[in-house]
């Protein structure tokens, strides 16, 4: 008899009452998982692409990622070109590709380690300044000096004397 009564309580209230001796500990499953602003009792919160929601709806981050990969491949292809066809065209292309690849790479490092709105803004401003000076310096070197390809060739031509 007692066993049958126990079974009926399982039917109506679930297994949890069986696990707790005191009925005051029993909470309906709904309240535990309920979210204040969510009408559904159990739901998964997800980060949805904001294109159909009230978010910014911009593809900037995704395009940036793709740009980074394309630039990496371009830089990869520039290495043999620089070896076999050194000259001003490759020098300036190399200057641009190296600077931008480094700028975006360092940007990712900053994103990972720098936190706080003001610090992020300052760090990115500093990076932008550094990259600008780097590109300017490399272009100056290409114009007034031997150029990147020749510089590497000269360095490697040095032998033990």
């Amino acid at each position: 008899m007692a066993a049958l009564v126990r079974i009926s309580s399982v039917c109506h209230r679930g297994v949890s009452p069986l696990l707790f001796r005191s009925s005051s500990l029993i909470r309906p499953l709904a309240v535990q998982k309920k979210d204040r602003d969510c009408p559904y009792l159990i739901s998964a919160k997800i980060h949805a692409t904001p294109s159909n929601y009230a978010g910014s709806g911009s593809k900037a981050a995704s395009l940036h990622w793709t740009g980074e990969r394309i630039l990496s491949i371009v830089l990869l292809g520039l290495a043999p070109v620089a070896y076999y066809y050194p000259g001003p065209a490759v020098d300036y292309t190399l200057a641009a590709a190296l600077t931008l690849h480094g700028h975006w790479g360092l940007g990712q490092v900053l994103t990972d380690y720098v936190h706080g709105d003001f610090k992020i803004k300052m760090a990115n401003a500093g990076l932008f300044l550094l990259s600008t000076v780097t590109f300017a310096g490399l272009c100056y070197f290409n114009y007034h000096d031997v150029g990147i390809c020749k510089a590497v060739a000269l360095l490697w031509s040095k032998r033990l004397d």
């Binding site: 079974i7 969510c38 919160k45 997800i46 290495a79 031997v146 490697w156």
Partner: protein, 169 residues
């Protein structure tokens, strides 16, 4: 008796679950971006001055971990080197061949030249080969753990061979 209890209990569970029939059928998009969420996390936790749990100081280092941070390290080092070179080009009065001959004439020792070439070639080679490994991952390939280790060892081997080869040129 036990079988009866089990089947009825299962029904009891099922009936309670039917009250929440929408179990994970409904996904609610959040109103904030991941970036906003992360900013909220950091401002709140720095404001409360919470300590960060030990992570890199206690976790056992693995080859993929070391290669990953080395990729970042070589990238930062190479980028800094290029920036330093560009800055020097803007600031220094003389030309590149002048300074190159100057350093060469200082003759720090017989192996200085080969060592310098190796020291320059090594980070370039490592970052390049591991960069290719990253691009392959971006295509979605090679994520299984044995594949990660295998491609990692290939990158290390190629780096060493290429650096020695370039230093010998």
């Amino acid at each position: 008796m036990a079988l009866l209890l089990r089947t009825v209990a299962r029904q009891g569970l099922c009936s309670s679950r039917l009250q929440f029939a929408v179990l994970y059928r409904h996904a609610v998009p959040m109103g904030t971006t991941a970036k906003e969420e992360m900013n909220k996390f950091w401002t709140k936790n720095t404001r409360l001055n919470r300590p960060v749990s030990p992570h890199v100081s206690i976790y056992k280092w693995s080859v993929p971990m070391m290669m990953s941070i080395s990729h970042r390290g070589t990238g930062v080092a190479l980028s800094s080197g290029i920036s330093a070179f560009a800055l020097a080009a803007l600031v220094l009065p003389e030309s590149y061949p002048y300074y190159l001959d100057l350093i060469h004439s200082m003759s720090f020792g017989p192996q200085f030249l080969a060592f310098s070439k190796f020291a320059l070639a090594f980070p370039v080679a490592y970052h390049t080969f591991n960069g290719i490994r990253h691009l392959i991952w971006d295509l979605g390939k090679g994520f299984r753990i044995p594949e990660v280790y295998r491609s990692g060892y290939i990158v290390i081997a190629l780096t060493v061979v290429t650096s020695i080869g370039l230093a010998a040129m």
